[in-house]
Structures are given as structure tokens and as C-alpha cells.
Amino acid sequence: MAGLFDYSKEAVRVKAKKCDGDAEPEWRKFSVDPQITTYEVLRSILAKAFELRRDFSVSYRVIDDLGQETFLPLLSDWDLDAAFLGACDPCLNLLIDVTGAEEAWEPEEPPVSVIKSLKPLLRLGKPKAAQLQGLFKSQMERTLGMVQRALKPEEAPDYDPEPPEEAPVDDVCFRSFLDPLGTLEEPRAMRAAVFASGVEPSLRKVVWKHLLNVYPEGLKGKERIEYMRQRQQQYNALKDEWMKQAETPELMAITTMVRKDVLRTDRHLVFYAGNDDNKNVAALFNVLTTYAVNHPSVSYCQGMSDLASPLLVTMQDEPTAYVCFCALMRRLHNNFSFDGAAMGLKFQHLSIALRHYDPDFYLYLQQQQAGDLLFCYRWLLLELKREFAFEDALRMLEVLWASLEPDWPPPDGLQLQEAALRPSTAPSRHTAYTRLCALRRQRGLPSNKSLDELGQRAQLTTGRRPFLSLDDSDLAAVVECTSPRKVVRNLKEFQALAPTVVEPKNAKDEIFVWENPLPPSPAQQAVEDGPWWGDQVRHAFCWEG
């Protein structure tokens, strides 16, 4: 497609093979002009050529450095460029797979079912897409308006939530942030654009990996493809390892918990619907189990399935979803810690913000014995994912991620397992389980020691309660010392504030309040250092039975 690349050829010959279950494969040959052929156009050519009325996936053949032939998914204009560039002579080989798509797409279906599935979005023509955008844009505006009214009744009585001025970030817009070799040159400008208006759904596969900090800084387009390929392979190896190992009590404890939750995560979506042997439910199970086995200090906790589900729905690929999940959890894993310190801090911030912006409402909640705001737990833990219809939640999440500074993984890339579990220089024959036992021994923690016992022992020695108190008395001192704050309402304010942003310790993901720099008071420092028993249990982990 017309873009940043100077194609040497005016036409690319395409050889497409269609696989449909047990049916005989079919072949088609045609030529396209790479300057003008977009991903959408290619799909419609393929649909016509094979008379496809069902959903299908496209992948393209590449020969890697070792001379091995592999097929990479072709999911966007970006992939298509890579496909044209790397097309194996004499022609571009495509593989069309219609086996993966069970549900028939009925073009006459009204767009109300948008919440049911993401897939139709990718296939809808322009008029419908516009309709859909309008649908959830107006939904979002209504929700935002309600939140604004709830939070700021006095200061902004006539505040009209500004409709996003620009269309969501699309392929052309995204390319403007890349250099000719595909390196993301302006990560902050890209984030600002997403913050302002979200991402075109078909481009989410590409943009989300950047927003989630999957890639180290400065990778070229081709390097990113190779980077992802390596990580996908690494995931498959990690997954095979626990799948092959004998069912230890630890592994069973994980799989039992995960299975219980994936069977009730977003099952109203067509993607996860139907019988419990739905292949996407199984993929979500694999992603979460692999993560838990390879991150024993975090393991599995409820809520993770809600965080991983949108990634799998968007990426449509299990290994890629795992890589994205690891990137997301790099920021969020503290929220799932046993001591609850990170979540406690979030409640502190929320309480301070509420008291500052709406003292009346704050007082009302106090009177109703709801001043601890515990009803917001899910909002904070899942970053509001469950508070919106699924499709709207995707937009909300990407905007939220875009509001954060880039936090690239180190140059050697995103780690897909905990440091202690990574193979050392000497090859080890340890399984995940034996490594886990070793890790426990290192940390000097008997495996059956529960957090409760630790907490109770601490309570006996100090006479304090082993759970987080979110009482007002604890907050009062903090509130007194706070400086004026500002809610970020639009991109300009976001940019204006950005240079002065001080990120709260332990809470890089704080989104409610941007603080002006101010030396912390002793009380605040105490809050930020976590609860008094934090050190004792910070490294504690046990398996829930």
C-alpha cells in the first residue's frame, strides 16, 4: 500500500492457497499493485476469489534466517507491508484458513450485536463501521458525562464532555509515527494520539503491543517481527514444559483455580461462548496457567482472567496474548500481592481525590459507612474493565494505557518468566516444579505457611490488626498535606502537566491524580512504604487450596 516504503515492483504476484477443514485445498493466482493494495482490499479480493462467505484468517510465507519456511499471520496493513517486502520470490504465498471460524457471518446482521463479538467489526464495511463507532462513542460520552457530573457537580456545571475531535488512530496515522524502517520514532506523540481518540479496532493488534510496552525501544519493523517470533516460540516451550510434567499438587492447585475462572470470564462474547471446550477458553486457560507456573511469586489470582481476556480477543493468537499479558502484568502484578499494599495505596489516592473534589459526597459516603470506598475494589483492580460493555472497555483500556509514559522493557527484551526461574548459564534439568521448590527454599518460607499465620504472629507481637485499615483516621494526615491537584480532562492538559508529573512510588499506573512535586510528609511516606508488616510478607507466597 502507498506508504513509507518504496516498492521496487509495480506488481506483486500472489499465490493463495485455501484450506477448509478436510476439503481439498484450492489455489488462486493473481497480481496486485503494492502501492495501492490495502489489507481490506486484499481481503475482499480473496473473499471474492474463493467465494468465501465465512470468516477466514490469512497468513503469509516467509523464509527465516535458518532457511526454514514459516507462515506469519497477516492481520493489518502493517503486516501486509512486511509481506510485500519479504515476499519470497517469485511470488507472495498466502495461506487462507477458514477452518478456524465456526460462526458464519451474515452480512445482513444488524450492528446491535457488536458487543457479542469483535470479529464482525473487522469485516464490516465503512458505513457500518461508522455507525458502530457512533454507537459506542455516544455510549462512552454518556458514561463520561455521568462520571463528570458525579465527580464535579460544582466546579463545572456547564461542562460538556468534549467529543473526540479526531477519528481513532488508523493505519495512516500510525505510520506517521514510524520512520522509513518502521521504527517507532515518536512514542509519546503516538500515545497522545491514542489518548485523544483511541485506536481503530482493526489496528489494535499492532498498536496495543506498543502501548503495553512489549517491544524494547527503537526496534525496526523487521526486528519487531523477529522479536515476536522468538517470544512466541519461547511461550510454546514454557507451555509445553508444564503440560508435559506430572500433575503435582502445586500445578493442580493452579489449574483448578484458573479453570474455575476462565469458564466464567466474558462467556457472553461469541469468542468464548458455547461449550466449555471452546478453543478460545482453552487458550485463555493456557495463557494464565503458563503465567502462574512461571511467576510463582505472583501465581494466579482472580481478576487476571479479566485482564488477559481482552488481550486474547484482540490478538486472536495465544502466544501473542501471553507476551502482551506479561507486559501488562509487569506493571500490574503488585496489585495482586498478598499483603494488599499496592491496592491499599490506590484506595488512599482515591479517597484523597474524592475528598478534594467532592467533600459533600465524601461526607455522605462516610455517613453511610462507605467511606472506605471498598465498593471500588473491582474498578481499581481491573482498571474499570468490567464497568463497561466489552467493546467500550477495549477503547477505555487503550486510552488509559496511552495516558502512561512509555516503559520499555530492557534491551534484551520482555521476560516471559520470573528472574529466578530463568535458566542459568549451566543448563539445568529442573522442571518448573523443582525450580519452584528451590525458590521457596531460597526464600526460607515453608510452603504451608499461609499469610494468615504470618499475619497472626505479627499481630501477637505488636497488637495491631493484620489487615489494611482504610479508615479515615489513617488518611487524615495524608489529606492535610496534599497539594492542589488537577484532573486531566483533555490532551492539552495532559501534555501541559506531563513535565511536572511525579509518579507515586509503587504505583506507576496511578491515573486519578497527577501530583505536583512536593516532599512527602512522614505520614505519606509511611503510606507509600507500605503497611508495617509488608517486609515480612512481601516475599511470601503460598498456593491457595
Partner: protein
């Protein structure tokens, strides 16, 4: 129209993950089984006014997350609860084995006088049963709990479970064993304002037409 009630009780629903706590609550409030129910994160709420011993009692129900990991926060929910449904799954022994821990938490963190009713849920799945009625009754007796088996799916005994627990609290109030005015009792007076010795007052109020 604002609802009228004599008392408001704070109620907890506690127990291991996946035992059907949210489905019990949904069945109680909506009289329907909730298909595709998501696992609870943190806490969710429901409330319903039920008639108990001639009183209107509003139950403010805190439906908590079952996973151990959330305990650092869910423990704060216990404060000032008047009653609790302690739920296990009759088809899962591990959920029954965990009861002692849950009970210890409830008794130490809520009011010591908290009225607890043991609920063996999923009684419709008879063929998969792992915990017998007899065994659970014994546990209930040893720990001075009331006990019912329920099915959030069929609705069997669901209303009874909440009502029975509420009734026990009303009885304790009327006998003077529980003092609603004590801080942290989990009991508030409603807009109908009963007195502690309110049997006669209630009769007089409920039948004004007969005067």
C-alpha cells in the same frame, strides 16, 4: 416510594471461590438463576426487604470474593456484620475443608455475636456430591451453626437460608441477647422504628384498619 422496614441488618456471604455465593444472592433477589455469572472481584452488594416474625427487615448483603488472595481486603468487610451465610459446595470437599478458616475469620473480625448459617450449595448436583448432609450437620452442630442445603440453580431453600438467619437475629434482639444500639452490631433501626419490646407495638401498627 421509599421502602419501609423495622431493621436493617448487614449480612455477609462468605466461602471459598466457586461455591455459588453470587448465584445465591442473585437467586434471592431476582428469583432467577444467573447463567454466565462472573467471579466476584472485591465485593458486590444486594439488598432486599423480607418479612421476619412480623417485622420488615432489610438485608444489606455483602457478597464477597472467595479467593484467599483477597483476604487482606475482604477482612475489612467483616466489621459490623450481624449475620453471615457461610457457603460451601456439596460437590467439592476442599470447599468444605476450608470452612473452619472462614468461620474463625467471621467470628474474630465481625461481631463476636454474629449469627452464622452454614449453606451447602449445589444440592441439585446429587450425583457429584462429595459432602454428605450428615457430615455437614455434624460440623454445624459442633460449631453452633444453623444449617441448610440449597440450590441456587433450582432456588431450593435459598429464601429460607436468608430468612432463617434473619429470624435468628430478630429473636436475639427481642430476647435482649443482641443490642442493636451497640456499635458494630451490624443492626440499624429503620423508618418504622420498633422498640426492643415491640410485640404489642407491632400488632397495633400493622392493623390500623381493625381499630
Amino acid at each position: 416510594m421509599s421502602e419501609s422496614y423495622d431493621y436493617l441488618f448487614k449480612f455477609l456471604v462468605i466461602g471459598s471461590a466457586g461455591t455459588g455465593k453470587s448465584c445465591l444472592l442473585h437467586q434471592f433477589i431476582e428469583s432467577k438463576f444467573k447463567e454466565d455469572s462472573s467471579h466476584t472481584i472485591g465485593v458486590e452488594f444486594g439488598s432486599k426487604v423480607v418479612p421476619v416474625s412480623g417485622k420488615q427487615v432489610k438485608l444489606q448483603i455483602w457478597d464477597t470474593a472467595g479467593q484467599e488472595r483477597f483476604k487482606s481486603v475482604t477482612r475489612s468487610y467483616y466489621r459490623g456484620a450481624a449475620g453471615a451465610l457461610l457457603v460451601y459446595d456439596v460437590t467439592r470437599r476442599d470447599s468444605f475443608n476450608a470452612l473452619a478458616n472462614w468461620l474463625a475469620d467471621a467470628r474474630s473480625l465481625a461481631s463476636p455475636n454474629i449469627v452464622v448459617l452454614l449453606v451447602g450449595n449445589k444440592s441439585d448436583l446429587e450425583s457429584q456430591r462429595e459432602v454428605t448432609f450428615l457430615e455437614a450437620s455434624r460440623f454445624a452442630q459442633e460449631n453452633e451453626l444453623m444449617f441448610l442445603e440449597t440450590s441456587a440453580k433450582s432456588g431450593q431453600n435459598v429464601v429460607e437460608a436468608f430468612s432463617k438467619c434473619a429470624k435468628a437475629i430478630v429473636t436475639k434482639i427481642e430476647s435482649g441477647e443482641l443490642d442493636p444500639d451497640r456499635i458494630g452490631s451490624g443492626i440499624q433501626y429503620g423508618n418504622l422504628k420498633p422498640t426492643r419490646n415491640s410485640a404489642s407495638a407491632a400488632t397495633g401498627r400493622s392493623c390500623p384498619c381493625k381499630v
